[in-house]
């Protein structure tokens, strides 16, 4: 094809003008001054995931009913999808472009479906073939940060030991988040898939500066992920009374099966997740809890949807209400004196200042007081060489502390306290430790492994388990880049929840998962922002027939010999998985 014909003699000419060949010899690519290029970009969901999940990637696989592959893809970055599918604050959904079109994709429900499905089907991770390394690494703390770091280090090939103070692994996932949000058999299953890789564990092993100095000499690196487990004390008169329970202790004790004698009227003080979870758990134990929070609803740090659930369950929340004094009779608390606040102008940190309303003190009758006003790290265990700022460990970008060979992540290092942030920092530390042990820097690989301009890193890219030709550019695809003519409005599928009666009379999980069909439909709403999903618009609308299709999963290519550079493919790509470049002439 594409041959050029010459007639040597007049007699060779046909009698009637007729054609013998196609026009393919004519290299119309010369006409081009703009060059279309296929190039995947970063979807906003991926960009905003602190754990570095390839959200769009697994939604795409789910669209194709490849649920196992989708689960595998999440597991490359995050060992705890069943946990995150339930309790992650899903910043991915906040940034989802579909939110500007109709409603964001219900990413968490799909993640949960994929993870639960994997448990149900008994999927196991495909083994990764890597040389075993001789270096040993100690992980202190088995919350999401420690587990994620251990998992990724093991996948890289290191020998890993986790030291955990409590009798069981999981950190806040185990002792903080109650069963009605995260059933413990689910958590255990995911922890087991991590340990199955061959990770040593030592439970009831509380580490401190002495043990670090004495027993950890054999380790080539240490990752500190001890979280924030010290409850802040109520600084009011009577606040030291033994009958004031700490929220975190309450959650922990209930988890470990201890009896906590509760009356009916339980006052929970605070506005974070601990306060909400404490109140909701107390409700399930038969109490009639209520919450006192000194600031406004907008300032409440707890997850919004959880606050709404608590209110739906009948838990009353009094805002701008601060306790001032505990009134006890003998050892028994009888009442709590409170004061009403009003808000003043914002202070230097942007928080509204609180002004006590004069003479607004009032007593509330209570049987118990649970203080859940916040948790801080226990810094007494840390070696002196580890620098602190605002009671948090100081590190550089690679999570390296000021002590040689010691890294830190999760709640003990960052004020951004969430499961996804903890998982992300565990992964970052694993990569940074690998770089450190190879005497290389994290910075050198950042360009390859950083997802868009967001917080997450890609382990898949770090381990070169992805296709380098399909690596995404850092450019984040926004709603304006989507060709919405190719999409129809479809409402988001919501998850079903237990009835209020069923909730308060049991510790059963409140949210029910998606059935397979719903997960499939919801995944089908995804735009696949910035990533080619083989829709073939580029091929269909090319008037130069210069887009070439290939068998299987291979991406279309462009025949630059003939592409005239009209740009239709760029305009009609529904998801902006292409760009135009000026032709150098």
């Amino acid at each position: 094809m594409g041959k050029q014909i010459t007639f040597d003699k007049k007699e060779d000419l046909p009698l009637v003008t007729s054609s013998f060949e196609s026009m393919a010899w004519n290299k119309t690519g010369d006409w081009r001054y703009l060059k279309p290029i296929f190039q995947d970009k970063t979807p906003p969901c991926n960009n905003s995931c602190p754990a570095g999940e390839d959200v769009q990637g697994y939604l795409y696989l789910a669209q194709k009913k490849k649920y196992k592959e989708a689960w595998n893809l999440i597991k490359e970055e995050n060992p705890l999808p069943a946990v995150c599918g339930r309790a992650c604050m899903h910043p991915c959904e906040d940034s989802c472009n579909r939110g500007e079109f109709d409603e964001p994709i219900n990413i968490s429900a799909i993640e949960r479906f994929l993870a639960d499905n994997a448990i149900k089907q008994g999927y196991i991770l495909p083994p990764i073939k890597r040389k075993k390394k001789k270096e040993k690494i100690a992980i202190i703390g088995s919350g999401p940060a420690g587990l994620s770091c251990a998992y990724q280090l093991k996948r890289i090939g290191y020998q890993v030991t986790i030291f955990e103070a409590l009798p069981a692994l999981g950190g806040m996932l185990r002792i903080g988040i109650p069963d009605y949000r995260l059933p413990k058999d689910i958590l255990e299953h995911e922890i087991d898939t991590i340990l199955e890789l061959g990770i040593q564990i030592q439970t009831k092993a509380r580490i401190d500066k002495e043990t670090i100095a004495k027993d950890m000499k054999d380790f080539h690196a240490i990752f500190i992920a001890t979280g924030c487990h010290k409850s802040i004390r109520l600084g009011i008169a009577g606040g030291d009374s033994r009958s004031v329970i700490s929220g975190l202790d309450f959650l922990k004790d209930i988890h470990f099966g201890k009896k906590v004698p509760l009356g009916k009227k339980v006052a929970v003080i605070g506005g974070g997740n601990t306060a909400i979870d404490t109140a909701r758990l107390a409700l399930r134990l038969g109490a009639k809890p209520f919450i006192l929070y000194r600031r406004t609803p907008a300032e409440m740090p707890a997850i919004k949807s959880e606050v709404i659930q608590a209110e739906n369950e009948g838990i009353e929340i009094s805002y701008l209400t601060a306790p001032t004094r505990i009134i006890s009779k003998g050892n028994r608390v009888t009442a709590l004196e409170c004061v009403k606040n009003r808000t003043g102008p914002p202070d230097s940190s942007g928080n509204k200042t609180l002004i006590e309303i004069k003479d607004s003190h009032f007593p509330i009758e209570v049987d118990n007081i649970i203080s859940a006003i916040g948790e801080i790290p226990d810094i007494s265990i840390l070696p002196e060489e580890v620098d602190l700022e605002n009671r948090l460990i100081v590190t550089d970008e690679s999570l390296k502390t000021t002590m040689n060979g010691v890294f830190a992540g999760g709640d003990v290092k960052s004020p951004l306290r969430s499961i996804a942030h903890a998982i992300g920092s565990g992964k970052r530390a694993a990569i940074a430790i690998d770089r450190y042990l190879k005497a290389k820097t994290l910075e050198d690989v950042m360009d390859t492994i950083r997802i868009g301009d967001g917080p997450g890193l890609s382990m898949r890219s770090y381990l070169q388990r992805d296709d380098p030709s399909r690596r995404k550019t850092k450019q984040v695809v926004r709603y304006k880049d989507i060709n919405i003519d190719y999409f129809e409005q479809k409402p988001r599928h919501a998850v079903k929840t237990l009835s209020i009666e069923e909730r308060v009379s049991s510790k059963k999980e409140v949210h029910l998962g998606f059935p397979c069909e719903t997960a499939l439909q919801e995944a089908g709403r995804c735009f696949n922002c910035g990533v080619c999903n083989h829709c073939d618009n580029c091929y269909i609308f090319c008037s130069d027939l210069a887009v070439i299709k290939h068998k299987g999963k291979t991406r279309n290519t462009i025949d630059y010999d003939h592409c005239k550079g009209c740009g239709v493919c760029i305009e009609e790509c529904p998801r902006d998985a292409m760009y135009m470049e000026r032709e150098e002439k």
Binding site: M1, G2, I5, F7, P14, T17, S18, S19, F20, E21, S22, M23, A24, W25, N26, K27, T28, W31, R32, D485, Y486, C535, D536, N537, Y539, I540, F541, S543, D544, L545, A546, K549, D559, D561, H562, K564, G565, C566, G567, V568, I570, E571, E572, P574
Partner: protein, 291 residues
């Protein structure tokens, strides 16, 4: 979008069309449905050039270049020749521009349609005589600039309602289609192929060169033509049965006009006027479709 259109191609790259030519897509989508057993007749038009130069052709089925006004008569003749040979399989496709269809070749077309000659006649409509440098045709829309309707005297007559004229011949099948909706277009070609007699397809084929629009936006413009009701997708069976194939989203015509330099001179009043005309024509079509 994942199309249902067959992907066996009958046009080679290297053809001579401008970048972003809608007429190529029209031919491409049609041949993908009609397949190998097709004879194409092309009167003088851009497509005479697009196909290439002797001794080459960008089209991989037999193709006959003919005089400007003769597409329908030549197609009738070729069909008669095939009949004599006992070839009942081959489809004859006349593929003509709007000038060749609405104006100069109209007498031949009307005669053939009245005789119910068995071929598919496609008018690829780029709304002017493009090959000779953008002169107005009776397909040029009201208000548009062409070299013969300059900005000071833009076209002051509405576009001829060719589909209704062709349907009035009571031919078995007449339909509009657009390069923005290849699946709808393919389905219509498939339907036409299965019907005996004269089938007329009017295909909206943007021309970035003559419309002074961005070559990248031809599909967008074609899509907007449908959804502003400027170019509704509908079909007429046996002269009377009208059927609208796609519900327009009712986007203001301004959105369509503003992407094209040939409408850049229009004032707000002109645009309002065009909107009124478009609405009226749509009402007119609706009445027929309900009838």
């Amino acid at each position: 979008m994942s199309s249902t259109m067959p992907m066996q191609e009958y046009i080679s790259p290297g053809h001579m069309a401008c970048p972003g030519c809608g007429a190529v897509l029209a031919m491409r989508y049609i041949l993908n449905v009609l397949g190998e057993k097709t004879v194409v007749v092309i009167p003088a038009s851009c497509w005479s050039v697009i196909d290439g130069v002797f001794p080459y052709s960008a089209v991989r089925v037999p193709l006959f270049h003919t005089a400007f006004e003769t597409a329908a008569s030549v197609a009738s003749g070729i069909k008669a020749g095939l009949d004599i040979q006992g070839d009942t399989e081959t489809t004859v496709l006349a593929f003509a521009g709007d000038g060749a269809t609405f104006d100069i070749g109209f007498q031949a077309l009307s005669g053939a349609a009245e005789r119910n000659e068995d071929f598919i006649y496609v008018c690829y409509d780029n709304e002017a005589y493009m090959n000779t440098g953008v002169q107005r045709s009776s397909a040029t829309p009201y208000g548009a600039w062409t070299t013969t309707t300059p900005v000071r005297h833009p076209k002051d007559r509405p576009k001829k309602r060719i589909l209704e004229i062709m349907a009035a011949h009571e031919i078995p099948y007449a339909a509009t289609a657009s390069i923005a909706y290849p699946d709808d277009l393919s389905a219509k070609v498939k339907k036409a192929k299965g019907i005996y007699g004269t089938k007329f397809l009017h295909i909206f084929s943007p021309c970035p060169t003559g419309w002074k629009s961005k070559s990248s936006q031809i599909i967008k413009i074609a899509r907007l033509a449908v959804h502003t009701k400027v170019f509704p997708l509908y079909e007429v069976e046996n002269g009377f049965t009208f059927h609208i194939n796609m519900e327009p989203k009712n986007i203001p015509v301004r959105e369509y006009l503003k992407l094209q330099g040939r409408f850049a001179h229009l004032s707000e009043e002109d645009i309002a006027d065009i909107q009124r005309q478009v609405d009226e024509e749509w009402e007119h079509l609706l009445k027929r479709a309900l009838y």
